[in-house]
Symmetry: C2
Subunit: 226 residues, 2 copies
């Protein structure tokens, strides 16, 4: 038996406690319908790599879209986990929330469509560099009830997505409970909780502004890579 702690933190860096980005899919009825997707019977998750994170201050505030890729915006409420756990009961799940962060679950819709057709992983469609723009960290106190905030997103000033989080099929607490039955949650994990209707393409030069009404706002510019 080797002592993991010796190798992990000092040499490998990666350990079971390394934070991850979990995202729930099809969590707003109107969004599932706009993409002709069936509604899930339980929360289903996928991962985004941390390398996809971009901030207004990082990468010059740019969302980078590779040439030929159809990038869709999805505005989502991000939940930052404080106390980790496994098999967390829904009743106490919100006690495991440390804070919130506004996120875009950018999606290469064309790559995703091909992956779905081929039965392949969603990783490339969801995980390209800069495909996880995030806003400022919001301590838990800033949001009294995660099911009672309004998410919005504008492209070049025109509203594309706007909805209250009380429309979620699976509320945040249910998502935390469900995720923790499959994947042990650890401090620093980020959970993207699904997008409302109105997703659509972003093209070179677009200015994307997103917000949680009355709480936070962020702006990114879209740049096509060649």
């Amino acid at each position: 038996l080797f002592r993991f702690e010796e190798t992990s933190n000092q040499i490998m860096q990666l350990s079971p406690a390394t934070p991850k980005i979990l995202c729930v899919l099809r969590n707003f009825v109107a969004h599932a319908k706009e993409l002709n997707n069936p509604l899930p019977a339980k929360p289903i998750f996928f991962l985004k790599p941390p390398s996809a994170i971009v901030t207004e201050a990082g990468n010059g505030g740019f969302i980078d879209v590779p040439a030929g890729v159809e990038c869709h915006h999805e505005v989502e409420l991000g939940v930052v986990i404080g106390k980790g756990g496994r098999n967390i009961p829904e009743e106490t799940a919100l006690e495991h929330v440390k804070g919130y962060v506004l996120c875009l679950d950018l999606t290469a819709r064309d790559i995703q469509a091909q992956a779905k057709k081929d039965g392949m992983p969603w990783t490339e469609a969801k995980g390209l560099d800069s495909f996880c723009p995030i806003g400022e960290y919001l301590p838990k106190e800033r949001i009294a009830d995660p099911q009672q905030v309004e998410l919005w997103l504008k492209v070049n000033g025109a509203v594309r997505q706007q909805a209250l989080t009380d429309l979620m099929i699976f509320p945040v607490a249910r998502q935390i409970a469900a995720a923790s039955q499959r994947f042990t949650l650890t401090e620093g994990d980020l959970l993207l909780t699904g997008t409302p209707a109105g997703v659509g393409p972003l093209v070179d030069g677009d200015v994307v502004t997103a917000g949680i009404t009355g709480i936070t706002e962020m702006t990114f510019r879209v740049r096509q890579l060649h």
Copy 2:
């Protein structure tokens, strides 16, 4: 603009430099054929969450299989990234390797089959707790050529997988180059490089031993959860 560094490392913990686990699929012809899968034209990746990592010393050396889940063993050479990068050329890709670690890419084959059929993410099939057993950290010097090592896996003493890594469709250098075109690589990233033929189910009480011939060996026991 908010300063990401202030929130990320101290409060959010997650940053673009947080290490990830990337895995390549269908990288040995005989393995792709045994599952009746077409061969990929280029390396295709998926993610495992760090929470899936288990070591001989962690979790008591147990692989935990939820009741009703068909868990398959896949022995793989893990590559630990040292110097990160984006668009790394294949020619210099091995300079980005810091070391190696023997890994099992455990797979809930039944959940994966359903996900493939439904066009859903592979995350649950690949990412359950303890579904990424890893061995001791091997500094780069321990493996002269990653395409010239033998991987093997035994279940209860019977050999199930045994193959030289020169059978990889996409060698390690090509995988690093391909991965870095989509996902910026960062120090500490772990790359699972594909499994040879011979995958099969693990059931309660099985003892799994895997190794890189002449270099390292690890043992796990399978425990069914109720």
